[in-house]
Amino acid sequence: MSVETEIRFRLNGREVCLKVPATMKTLAMLRDKLGMTGTKYACGEGECGACTIKVDGKTVNSCLMYAVDCDGRELVTVEGLRAPDGLHPVQQAFVDHGAVQCGFCTPGMIVQAHYLLENNPGLTREEAQRGLEGNLCRCTGYTKVLDAVEAVAGKGACAGGKGACLGGRAPDAA
């Protein structure tokens, strides 16, 4: 066992404090220590994007991120991306367009799509395609995923305002 370190950070708007081994990855911490299983473990080496989360507003592969480096930072997982009245518009679009088959890549796809739309609310299909390059789907392909993202683009659903997601805010404050 390697040395344990106490870290404090915000997870989907809530303050979290726990001890983690120095070499533990953020994905293992989320799933095995905090019971947040929305973020998926697939390849474990940064190739597939199923474990995508947002850290300080930028998406990363949580399987490559050391949990100790979460200290003092702001994490958002797929569990933090819901609207006050239910699904976030990006999630709803994935449902509406049938952009889910086995669903294993979906949390990562949704977090990455949300991040892309947040930074470029009017993104084009080509921009969505490039932005989702780090997210692999082994079932359906990408057409329906891109359809879903395209449907949300231009509606301003991820940049605040009407239908905005909770982002980092505490779910119970909504």
């Binding site: 080496e45 592969n61 991120m65 480096d69 892309l116 780090g134």
Partner: protein, 297 residues
């Protein structure tokens, strides 16, 4: 020593350190027994697979402010070692001063990895296929290495083409930290290009990469720099290709001479990603393409 669940013997990490000051980091490294962590995108898979072992201390340098950022001062561009590939890709200053770096950053892994990976880590990882190396070689970049010795910080500069020794190996000593990559601001008539190949644009370890840089004055090339990745144990300057182009007008004859000269510089191997024959072929194609591309503009 302990056994993990794959029954590998793994040394224990006795301390995790996340200093905010460079001198604290260098003091922690002075005994040469620290593993440096920044983005973790290479360290995590390499340690998980057992290809690399942790040292006694895990030293996170990502919180040291002076290691972040892109600065242009006195005709010199300085990129802090902890600067992410995303920061490089989005830097308006670099897009203006050294667009070849912006281009290479755009072809680097995926958005998630670009958001975490640091330029210093990419260089220290010393992969023959590292995507930042060829463009930085064409910019005549140097790296700054710092260490703590005799109660003070010591720094030295090493030209990037002297930095790499082999796959995963550099001249950096265990007690040294790569703090920045620096290069002279290219002249206004400097042109640069980057090409890499792989079956898809994202998350592809380059089968071959080629970077080109030169001053182009009235159709004539000077200060020509050509660098290649994944064609030798280290990223390298293609000196024969450079010599074929130096002082020449950018015409068909010069391009043909440059393409022919690639055989003297590129010494590729067969591996899982491509055969040596295919790599040698790609190098010729890329050199021709970048030169034709520059000629068209």
């Amino acid at each position: 020593m302990t056994h993990d669940n794959t029954n590998r013997v793994t040394p224990e990490i006795s301390a995790y350190l996340a200093p905010r000051r460079l001198d604290e980091a260098l003091q922690a490294m002075a005994d040469g027994d620290a593993t440096v962590l920044c983005g973790g995108t290479d360290l995590a898979p390499q340690t998980e697979s057992g290809a690399r072992q942790y040292k006694a201390k895990l030293l996170n340098i990502r919180r040291i402010d002076s290691l972040h950022g892109i600065e242009i001062k006195g005709g010199e561009i300085r990129i802090g070692a902890a600067t992410t590939i995303s920061d490089i890709r989005r830097s308006a200053a670099l897009a203006e001063a050294a667009p070849v770096l912006t281009e290479a950053a755009g072809h680097f892994a995926s958005e998630q990895i670009r958001n975490a990976a640091s330029v210093g880590g990419n260089l220290c990882n010393a992969s023959p296929a590292g995507d930042m190396s060829p463009p930085l070689l064409t910019l005549d970049a140097a790296v700054e290495l710092a260490c703590w010795r005799d109660g003070a910080m010591q720094t030295r500069r090493v030209a990037l083409d002297q930095f790499f020794l082999g796959p995963g190996k550099t001249v950096k000593q265990p007690e040294e930290l790569l703090t920045a990559v620096v290069f002279k601001q290219p002249a206004a008539d400097f042109v640069g290009r980057f090409r890499k190949s792989g079956p898809r644009p994202a998350l592809e370890i380059s089968t071959v990469s080629v970077a080109f840089g030169a001053r182009l004055v009235q159709g004539k090339l000077s200060s020509v720099r050509v660098a290649m990745g994944a064609v030798a144990p280290t990223p390298l300057r293609a000196r024969h290709v450079e010599a074929a182009l130096e002082g020449q007008p950018l015409n068909d004859a010069a391009i043909a001479a440059a393409v022919a000269a690639t055989a003297q510089d590129a010494k590729p191997i067969d591996d899982v990603r491509a055969s040596a024959w295919y790599r040698a072929h790609l190098v010729r194609v890329f050199v021709e393409e970048v030169l034709n591309d520059v000629r068209r503009d």
